[in-house]
Symmetry: C2
Subunit: 330 residues, 2 copies
DNA sequence: GCATCCCCTGAAAGAGCTTACATAGGCGTC
DNA sequence: GACGCCTATGTAAGCTCTTTCAGGGGATGC
């Protein structure tokens, strides 16, 4: 209709700079009147490029994941890419299957959460020569590109907050650390910091639970049943912390001075519930992860590891333990 | 490698029944040793079928959406389809763009939330002859297939619950009804039911707010600033209800007898927060929406409209209003 | 004024699969 | 025993784009 070859149309659409202005206008007019839309399958086949990137996350049931995904999507779309989302449910085997499925679909890049993936997953990535990035972890010395923060260091911040408030008997309700390096990092951070700066006589009790409200409740219940229950509880994430908070409330432990609870992640509701927590800038992580991949896809060699600043959001759920609070009264 | 033609391989892979057992085994062995993976782009191009279905939702920031999506994904995967997710942020124009993008990608079917979409969106769907279904609405007489419940009827259930508790002064914090037929349906249901069964002297105040915690807080604040503030507040969804609950708490309105709040949706946290709400079986809706599409894709003519049963979850946030509570005391 | 070079465009060859159609056996039937 | 039909497999023609390569035409330089 524009009186040109298909080659020129193809160029006008994907490399507008390579076609003269007159032709480009004619082609665009024709495209508009014909409502022409390129067949993406044919484009993928011919160009060996899908303009598709996949993000594989353990869950979409929390705002941190959602923010992350939204940020990734926004950045990717601006660059003309489509986002595919995979949800593993924290199962490495499932993650591998999803990886294979996406690779078969010809995704141009992948974004993972955490750095601990099945060897088969890494092998598949290697075999297809597809770039990827691990988000929510920071391992500058590791072999894989990443965007995030050091979970041990984050845990240290949390512990120090509690130590400064005067807590000595500190417990933890962690999420299952098997196949979850972020959970493992947080546990390690708590243990290390307490070993270095805490009461030498205190062996920190750690309960691993599924990341649900009920998991948090059960975890706290177990901690409170100990002969010497802790005065402060660190939770592996905010969902567990909500559970702990609700369980404490139901047991009549209302004030933070009776039991301090601190979380990890800073979900939307955490501020409203007065939960002290480690704030994670999810949207920024997502955006930078997408940025990394786009740079790779454009042929660049972006920074291997990007560090994200985190900060502690101290709120009402943490306070000096009762004994101290009394001591320090005038 | 198996000594057969590509046609036979293709058949062995997609229509195993049409190939003899011996060859099938030979081919599968070859596939395994070569780690052969079909090129999906080529398959899409040749078969004019992408084995991809898209779900377009307003947001993924709540558990109802997430449950829905997970259920859709599970059902689709079982049938060999891949799910593409689009997020509109409640913007019809964006929804249209996403639709066009997915259509260009050759999706085989689409799942929408609600039934009010831009004419351009419906036109695009029509033009491509792609089947779709609207979930979370039930309009047996409407022109479009749907899986869900009648939002008016649901609102009626909520109003009746409050009326039965003895509330007469009922207000509403709704989500923005522009371009959101579910919000509009709920508002209409509240107004109608109250007009029919409520106090004739009471004109129900309705505040529309964005579906956020802060929206809920602001909405409640406005209602409480009225000359005759309501004794019970219906919220368009649970997020708004959380906001209302927090605002009420911060104002010292602790008991449901001072101010009853009821939501819509029944998110994970609602039970913990003691929020009365209309329970929506999100996973079932998602599963059935996927089921509908799969049936269409298989050439069938499934039910045009599927009704989902809903129920009211009465919890601590609703109670008889104070005056009545006192009256009914012995 | 002619040669050189560069820019723009077109022709044509794939990219890797599916599927309609052709073909070759195998079997049942009369 | 021959004919016909059915099933299993092969042949080859697409599906719709991208991209290499070649060529034409205009501008530039000497």
């Amino acid at each position: 209709m524009a009186g040109v070859s298909t080659a020129t149309v193809s160029r006008a659409l994907s490399l507008p700079g390579k076609v003269s202005a007159g032709l480009r206008a004619r082609i665009q007019a024709a495209v508009a009147t014909l409502q022409y839309q390129p067949n993406i399958a044919a484009r993928m086949l011919a160009a060996r490029r899908s303009w598709t990137v996949a993000a594989i996350v353990p869950t979409i049931r929390n705002n941190v994941s959602a923010s992350c995904l939204e940020a990734i999507q926004a950045r990717l779309e601006a660059a003309g890419y489509t986002l595919l989302i995979g949800v593993t449910g924290y199962e490495p085997e499932r993650e591998y299957q999803i990886t294979e499925a996406f690779l078969a679909r010809g995704v141009d890049g992948l974004i993972y959460t955490g750095a601990s993936h099945l060897p088969a997953t890494y092998a598949a990535l290697e075999r297809h020569h597809v770039p990827f990035v691990n988000q929510c972890v920071f391992e500058p010395d590791g072999p894989h590109p990443c965007v995030g923060f050091d979970n041990r260091e984050a845990a240290r911040l949390v512990v120090q907050h509690l130590l400064e408030l005067g807590h000595r008997r500190i417990g933890m309700v962690a999420s299952i650390q098997l196949a979850n390096d972020r959970a493992a990092g947080r546990i390690a951070g708590v243990v290390e910091t307490l070993a270095a700066c805490g009461d030498p006589g205190w062996r920190v009790p750690i309960i691993e639970q599924c990341s649900t409200i009920d998991g948090g409740r059960a975890g706290l219940a177990l901690l409170l049943a100990l002969p010497t229950p802790p005065s402060a509880v660190i939770c592996g994430n905010d969902i567990l912390a909500y559970g702990a908070l609700f369980e404490a409330r139901d047991r009549g432990l209302r004030a933070a001075s009776e039991l301090s609870v601190i979380g990890f992640g800073d979900l939307d509701l955490s501020e409203q519930l007065g939960l002290s927590t480690l704030h994670v800038p999810a949207a920024e992580i997502g955006r930078l992860a997408a940025e990394y991949l786009l740079a790779r896809l454009a042929g660049g060699a972006p920074l291997h590891a990007t560090r994200i600043e985190i900060r502690l959001a101290a709120r009402a759920s943490t306070a000096p333990p009762r004994a101290l609070a009394v001591d320090s009264a005038p």
